[in-house]
Amino acid sequence: MSFISYLKDGISLGSIYAIIALGYTMVYGIAKMLNFAHGDVIMVGAYIILTCITRGGMSPVLAVAISVVVCTVLGVVIEKVAYSPLRKASSNLAVLITAIGVSYLLQNLALLIFGADAKSFVTVINVPSVSLFDGHLIIKGITIITILACIVIMVGLSLFVKKTKPGRAMQAVSEDRDAAQLMGVNVNATISLTFAIGSGLAAIAGLLLCQTYPTLTPYTGAMPGIKAFVAAVFGGIGSIPGAMVGGILLGILEIFGKAYISSQVADAIVFAVLIVVLLVKPTGLFGKNIQEKV
């Protein structure tokens, strides 16, 4: 019974990683950059929802809608101001460092505006938990919602990429940016769209993260961001189903590590497993093996 209970906890944790990883993997696959600030956009989204509900007195739906809009705009602005000027820079470390700068900027702005106190998050999604096996196995309502959201987003994104014009443009840019440009694809607009979608998803991720773990500080997004990044790589960066599978598996690994080995070194175990996977299959579970051409 504990095994199943741990499995359930792992899926619960993993679903959060999966949602965050989806945003990471999209941006990496198409813009070919690691958006270190993604975790912090999530934090911003969560703060907006919280402020709208508690200070603005708005309904949860409206608050979430506003948050999605603001995050989307934020994502596009960040891309235009900080990342796109560096796209053709001589080293791709430049854009990574700038992303780190943006991350610090967001964290410190949040610190100034909202303060460092941990705030409890209001319960927005009130789905009752499912109780199985006579109360021995309790699946939280929020977990079910998160997994459903994950699946919906995954399917939605996949369809978007395959069936719509902008989606196919994203695929083209992801495979060969220069060729896509030559074929008439507006690369700038496509990348902006990618960031827009990724950041909008971040707002949703922020909501679900703070429903599962209802505490919010300016640093709440940082660690989940890194772990979700690990999850995205685990699943194969650039692969949308990979992000979901990677996220869930990572969550399960982390919980099992805590349960059966030690709760102190669970993080180390997670990272260690990642290293093993990368050494055995570097492109991750679903990634494509692209041979470098001379």
């Binding site: 690691l34 000027p85 900027l105």
Partner: protein
């Protein structure tokens, strides 16, 4: 060929020169009582971070690999040397003990460099970055659960305070999350020399790095950075040279760690997290990837700046983040570079016009 060698040697000598001149200026100011306590306190940490930045530049700049786990090497160097110092506190006098501690720290860090380097260097680009990040976190995690004690029977290692089973008269040195305290106090008599030692270590680091870069191995390393496939086809053993750079870099980071742990009276693992790795990376990138002199100058400015901005308390980190982004854009964005080039042209063009007139 001779011309190039002279130019490189001149460049290298300038780097030594800058360090020595700064040292002399600082000494002059401090002996005339003109150095504020704040800046005096910053001197040794500045050496620590500069050594860390120069050693990271070896991997990032010359080997072309993004390493996000540099703090992990500093961490193992710091802890191994602090343990060594505390355990041999009574048996070896302070000066030779410190030299040995430096060697211990460098050696342990180098060993970790090899252990981590062998699997890691087979990966590429962003994957390599994450794995180095992962290793940094693993090291941090593992040391945090360690308890080390020392009594007449010898050294004890355990994962909890109770598990140490020390005899009476035994001392707990590493207490898990509480870290190691009191290492600085062991060296009270030579504390005033720490800055000089730091400068000497920095000069040593410069020496090692610059000579490595300009040697045959160094050229092989830069070849692999510039065009991996071409280098491979010419017969250069990529893994061996990358590993060499990585290990040397790790050893120097270990030395920086030793200096850190002996300057502060409390050593905790939690400071050696990915934030510190990223901080050092920022110093390297802003100074110019592959530019040793830039690393030195950037570290000095970027480390001292937040401290000098103390008056702005709440806005300190915010200003830092903005300056960081602005400098990145200014230095690296092709659009900005073009603008600068045109500006330079205008200034120069203006001059020649004046001359002609």
């Amino acid at each position: 060929m001779k011309k190039i060698t002279n130019k490189t040697t001149r460049n290298n000598m300038i780097n030594y020169g800058i360090v020595i001149v700064l040292f002399v200026i600082v000494q002059a100011l401090s002996s005339t009582g003109n150095l504020s306590r704040l800046l005096m306190g910053l001197l040794v940490p500045l050496c620590v971070y500069t050594i860390a930045a120069v050693s990271l530049n070896l991997v990032v700049g010359f080997s072309g690999e993004l390493s996000l786990g540099h703090a992990g090497f500093m961490c193992v160097g710091a802890f191994s040397s602090a343990l060594f110092s505390q355990v041999t506190a009574d048996s070896i006098p302070s000066v030779p003990r410190f030299i040995l501690a430096l060697l211990v720290g460098a050696a342990v860090a180098a060993v970790f460099g090899v252990i981590i380097g062998i699997p890691v260097l087979r990966l590429r680009g962003d994957y390599l970055a994450i794995v180095t990040l992962a290793f940094g976190e693993i090291i941090k995690n593992l040391i945090n659960v360690l308890y080390v004690g020392y009594d007449d029977r010898g050294l004890h290692v355990a994962t909890s305070a109770a598990g140490l089973n020390l005899d009476t008269g035994g001392k707990q040195i590493l207490k898990g999350a509480l870290g190691i305290s009191g290492t600085g106090a062991l060296y009270k008599d030579i504390k005033n020399w720490f800055f000089l030692i730091g400068i000497l270590l920095l000069l040593l680091t410069l020496f090692i790095v610059q000579n490595l870069v300009n040697s045959r191995s160094g050229r092989a390393i830069t070849a692999t950075r510039d065009n991996r496939i071409a280098a491979e086809s010419v017969g250069i053993n990529i893994t061996k040279y990358k590993l060499l750079a990585f290990t040397v870099s790790a050893a120097m980071a270990g030395v920086a760690g030793v200096l850190y742990s002996h300057n502060l009276s409390l050593l905790k693992v939690s400071v050696f997290d990915y934030n510190m790795s990223i901080l050092i990376l920022v110093y390297v990138v802003l100074g110019g990837i592959g530019n040793i002199r830039g690393s030195i100058i950037a570290t000095i400015i970027l480390y001292a700046l937040p401290e000098l901005l103390r008056g702005f308390a709440n806005y300190r980190m915010l200003i830092y983040a903005i300056v960081l982004i602005a400098m990145m854009l200014f230095n690296w964005a092709p659009a900005a570079r073009n603008w600068r080039a045109r500006m330079m042209e205008k200034i120069r063009g203006g001059k020649t016009k004046k001359e002609a007139a």
